[in-house]
Point group: C3
Chain length 127, copies 3
């Protein structure tokens, strides 16, 4: 159900980027009622002039390892689940690829179950 | 009114990508109350490690031809129209560029009519 | 709080792109209750076949300078603020980099305050 867009700066290894994508997905499975095989992600790196971020908004000190994780998912989760998701993502990315928690930014965008077609021309969750 | 983001894997011809963009737009005109000249689309191709997708979630078998179509549009359409849109997109992309219906993924994100400015610094649909 | 995605055609200078990003952010600060240091933006340029736009939808004549500004922000602003934002963006981009108002397209996507984590694994605005 989720569609995930991950944005970060260029210069990281393929393994670094894969670890981020893997960790985000594992966190979704763990906390956000996402089946393990429900995985759809775009991970894109940018030149420094293309990805502009404040280095200390809210006194959170961000480094060039900063990553922006934009998650579109159905609006069926509550605040408890959102909090668990944010924590699980930061925890997992802290383990691999070893990101500081200050560098993990997450934005959730919610839609409805009727808004998804996973193929075959049907509203997958509304049939 | 819609703003459409299309994501697919690298290696397709310019004609293939244009056929996808054209087919999506025709489906929006046919089923989703979109004027023919209300067309705004970004179509971007990715390396395999940048576009991660499950090859059989929900027993739908996806190939490297898979395409993700993310549509932002005002929340004025009902479920009947969404179903018609999903079917029309899959049907049209099946004709040209000849995609299998399993490879056509659609995600709708809804906003409000007041959320659009099509130029001139005004809220186009709220004036 | 806002996460801003800016899309335009290739061929512009780094200064041109930076002026757009700066102007959008200043407009958000001026009209949309955004702190000055709450700045997170992706600005990406595209080949002409990747960025498809109608050149005269609604009799607004768009040129290859056209820019699409997609803003995700919490749904705490009213129509008056949205109108002010649209005007402020067009005005500022008219001054620098000198865009025609017809070339400034803005799309707002709203989420909730609970949908943001600006680091440290917490729901920043819901704690």
């Amino acid at each position: 159900m989720p569609f995930v867009n991950i944005s970060l700066l260029k210069g990281k290894s393929r393994e670094h980027r894969r670890a981020i994508a893997d960790g985000v997905h594992e966190a979704l499975v763990e906390t956000y009622d996402v089946p393990r095989d429900d995985r759809f992600q775009v991970i894109k790196d940018y030149d420094p002039e293309e990805l502009i971020y404040d280095e200390q908004y809210l006194d959170i000190h961000r480094s060039p390892d900063v990553v922006f994780i934009h998650i579109t998912a159905s609006a069926t989760r509550d605040l408890t689940q959102k909090k668990a998701l944010f924590k699980a993502i930061a925890d997992r990315l802290g383990v691999d690829p070893g990101l500081r928690p200050q560098d993990v930014q997450v934005i959730i965008a919610s839609n409805e179950r009727a808004d998804w077609s996973f193929g075959n021309g049907v509203a997958t969750y509304a049939v």
